[in-house]
């Protein structure tokens, strides 16, 4: 077996363990350095990932696959992790305890995501999933003195456990039907003409499990509560990384192992996708807490992303890949703003953002760019992404779904504009300016520039996305 395929995973795993130790041995007044060290080593890992992105091969038999698809997602996770840790430094520092654990757990969750994107086997996939989820549970409850955080952690643990149970049940049923856990075997056994009730039930359970992770209606209910209660950097990582990882695993499993059963799961995915888009966008409107609003907006985005799977074409998958990347940047930027503001004022209420333009032009303008990108307004990247996705599904004849999607993205502009309006047009309650830490500044700058650049000149990224997506639809 070629261990060099696993270079990135080994680096990240070592890093996580090293940070744990660092957290224990570093003197109390030097703890801040842990955060910087984490960011730095994650950047190094990102560079390694970019260097290695061309490699492909299988490890552990065919259980673990390294290919352009997994590399693309790993780079996305790493970017997310770098951005999130960068602005969490000031947060954790303010928290004042267990800095080592915080960063180590973040890196561990990252490792879980990487495994998920490479898994080509039911058990390996499940391993990655739990490896990602358990650190997230601890991180969600990281402010143990805070009731909201503890409650969110508790809820997340119990609901995750339930969803894992459902997912595992589905996997074992499919194993029962196929006689193997390897994707490469499953596709040969479960074919279009021998679908029985067992397979159907297994697929439904599987979708429910995935639906929970990507917060697809009706399995989305945990996310607003937990997004609101968790520390903001954790919320950000949960919204970006966890969702992207589940999506990556879902695409691989459904496209590689279960494409033959498409007629069974496709109907379900289409219906749930439509429901997700409608509910996410509508319920975002009356929200008064910005983290809750972003939670519902991220539910809606899960719906948009699913459209690419509905299309089930090269175009659809490449649209997902492109969208995931811009979603990472737009959300990281928005959450960095929320984090900085929350750090200073302790509030996440939208009404407290009144007059932000006067208090911190930087936060206000980055927030504006990121929200407009999420809303899909040109020239920002979100527009190209949505256009890409809508084209993909109309191409396959789902005009009504595109109609719904575009209509709902008009609705989404409304609630994003509420925040914009408050920030730019309201009179500030306090005149004090909001300080922004260096890390957060960097994140804001990077996300704003990326959101603009990928919108103005999408060709480089779409080229890559198209090439990666060809994996599933060879010429």
């Amino acid at each position: 077996m070629n261990l060099s395929l696993l270079t990135l995973e080994i680096v990240v795993a070592t890093l996580a363990l090293f940070i744990f130790i660092l957290g224990l041995v570093a003197p109390a007044n030097q703890k801040r350095g842990i955060g910087y060290f984490t960011v730095l080593s994650l950047v190094v890992s990102l560079i390694i990932a970019i260097i290695l992105h061309g490699e492909s091969g299988t490890a552990f038999g065919t259980m673990y696959v390294v290919d352009p698809f997994s590399s693309y997602f790993k780079i996305a996770f790493l970017i997310a992790a770098v951005l999130v840790t960068m602005f969490s430094i000031s947060y954790v520092n303010k928290l004042g305890y267990n800095q080592g654990e915080f960063f180590a757990l973040t890196v561990l969750a990252l490792l879980g995501m990487m495994i998920m994107s490479s898994a080509a086997d039911f058990i390996t996939f499940y391993l990655g999933l739990e490896m990602m989820t358990i650190p997230f549970i601890i991180l969600t409850a990281f402010r143990y003195g805070d009731k909201a955080s503890s409650e969110a952690g508790m809820k997340y643990m119990l609901l995750s456990a339930m969803s894992s149970a459902v997912l595992l049940y589905g996997l074992s049923i499919l194993y029962g039907a196929a006689g193997s856990t390897l994707y490469s075997d499953v596709i040969n056994v479960i074919t279009g003409d021998n679908i029985d009730a067992l397979t159907v039930i297994g697929l439904v359970f599987l979708l429910a499990g995935f639906g929970f992770k990507i917060s697809m209606v009706p399995f989305h209910m945990w996310s607003p509560d937990i997004y609101q209660g968790a520390p903001t950097p954790v919320t950000a990582f949960l919204a970006i990384g966890s969702k992207a990882a589940a999506l990556a695993a879902m695409i691989r499993m459904f496209m590689i192992a279960l494409p033959e059963t498409r007629e069974v799961w496709m109907t379900l995915v289409i219906v749930l996708c439509a429901m997700t888009i409608v509910l996410g966008n509508f319920v975002a409107i009356p929200q008064t807490n910005i983290k809750r609003m972003l939670a519902y907006s991220s539910i809606a985005h899960a719906g948009y992303l699913l459209m690419g799977l509905v299309a089930f074409t090269n175009l659809g998958i490449s649209a997902i890949l492109y969208y995931v990347m811009i979603y990472v940047f737009a959300n990281a930027g928005a959450f960095a703003c929320v984090n900085e503001f929350g750090n200073m004022t302790g509030s996440d209420e939208i009404k407290d953002y009144t007059g932000m333009w006067k208090r911190s032009p930087l936060i206000a303008s980055v927030m504006l760019l990121c929200l407009l990108s999420l809303g899909g307004i040109p020239p920002l990247a979100g527009f190209v992404g949505k256009f890409y996705l809508f084209t993909a599904i109309i191409d396959q004849g789902y005009i009504w779904l595109a109609f719904l999607g575009i209509g709902m993205s008009m609705v989404s502009v409304y609630y994003y504009l509420i925040v914009v309006k408050v920030m730019f047009l309201g009179k500030p309650v306090e005149e004090t300016s909001v300080p922004v830490s260096l890390g957060a500044k960097t994140v804001m700058f990077v996300s704003a520039v990326a959101s603009l650049f990928l919108g103005l000149y999408p060709a480089p990224l779409t080229d890559i996305a198209t090439k990666v997506a060809q994996l599933f639809f060879p010429m």
């Binding site: 209910m221 379900l268 307004i377 595109a402 309006k421 047009l425 779409t462």
Partner: protein, 629 residues
Amino acid sequence: MLELAWLIPIFPLIAYTLIIFLTKKSKSISVAVALAGIVASLVISIGVLVETIQKGITMAEPFEVAVKWLRLSAIDKYTGLNIDMGILIDPLSAVMMFVVTSIATLVIIYSVGYMHGDPGFSRYFAYMSLFAFSMLLLVIANNFFEMFFGWELVGLCSYLLIGFWFEKPSAAKAANKAFITNRWGDFGFMLGIILLYINFGTFNFGEISRIIGDGASGVGAAILTLISLLIFAGPMAKSAQFPLHVWLPDAMEGPTPVSSILHAATMVAAGVYLLARGFVLFNESTETLLFIAYIGGITAFIAASFALVQRDIKRILAYSTLSQLGYMVMVIGVGSITAGMFHLTTHAFFKCMLFLGAGSVIHAVHTQDIFEMGGLSKKMPITTWTFIIGALALAGIFPLSGFWSKDEILLATHQAGFTGLYWLATLVAGMTAFYMFRLIFIAFFGEKRTDHHAHESSPWMTVPLIILAFFAVFSGWGLVKMGYGSMVFFGHPHHGEINLGIALISTVFALGGIVLAWLIYYRKIVDTDLMKQRFRPIYNLLWNKLYIDEIYEWLFDKVMLGVAWLCNQCDRKVVDGIADGLGDTVRHTGGWMRFMQTGSLQNYALVIFGAIVIIVLLMATPVLGGVIR
């Protein structure tokens, strides 16, 4: 010059970037940068226009350059996605670019005087430059996607500029309204061009018209109607056609030069330009053309009737714009893009001038209510006379520019056999003359009604007015002499000639309107208050603009927010309710299911498992040979 055409939109963009990032602190440098940018564009677009005429570039053989922007290769049966960014120079875009750049230049010069002393001075000029860039991008685009890109940017800029004085809640509200109303139009536009791409395999204007011309598109008539109707939703919102016109009058909340550029050369003109640019597509569907023609006619009529009773000088002009846009859309609907674009061009000059004149008045008297003005003609001679020239041009009096283009419209409508629309349009011509001269007699003549100390505005503001007055007088006749009809046309070139009968009838109506206004508001032969009393229901209906805004507000507040509220309740409460209800029932009947007394966590779990059970039942039953099949 032609190969430099791509610089036309770029210069204002550079100006915008420079102002925002470098020169914001210094007012005079910012103005200089904005002016330099737009004048550079103006010079090149004049060069391009001259060269287009000299080289004899026609609509059929345009000058086109493009770079690849997005390339996704097609695989088997799946369509790829190829998008270019390019420029397309033909008489249509060359004339339009000249109109946009010249008006933007004059408005920017005027704004130096108007915005003097405003705290957001530099920011204003930055937005103006961005606005000019977006509009020029839209005009020069060689494909639908690029046009949509510029289209959306124009929407964004209008949001920034209408809400420029965002301290005023009404301005902020108007900006939101404009943006959101326009989004509904964009919604149709976007869906339309995606469908277009999937059916034709290209966004490019030239290629689409070639495919349609060859008759080898293989696209069904129904699909073509659907596509063209969806695309028409864009112009409906952007050119403020009934029933999406509601944002335009409110957009008067922005600074007056903004209203001027918005109404004359950018934003609203974009919709008409799109209709002309994509006409080959609209022409394929009789149903769509008919729809366009009638929407235009209805808009022209109802907007003119709203204008009859308004008191606010800018609102009168706003409804007048609506009405004139209705004309343009209508005539494109009956099949003449020549008349539509001709009127767009002449209208741009005189409407821009009217707005700038109104701005000059507002600047002097600090009110927008015409009944608080009066007697301005002596204090502000230049403003008054240019305003009267503008009003005469708008009313279509010979030999001013409006006469020529309005006559073209009436003629085209008549020739196409739309007799009903023709008479409606003629009636609107009379109404136009009436409400414009009502405004003039009340605001500029008669005695002073309130104590105002009006004085003529500074040369920054009056010089652009005089230049525009020149265009308002001569552009109509000039364009006819230049042979506009053989430059911008679809199908066969159109040789503009005056039909004496039609010209006579429309002039009679216009003069009738002016005389009626003179009798009522200058000679005061009838008591207007008495008339108001007698026709109270009609007056109220018009004053309240048929209550369309109220209907939308109700739809928005009650229906959309209601649905949102309902979904929210479902998401948070209903499940609680069901579970509680269930719990209660259970407790009452036996009390053995105590655990159903819930905190929210259990509810979430209930939803998850409940959903799974329902889905499994729905999906697995057929496989098991059950009832659902």
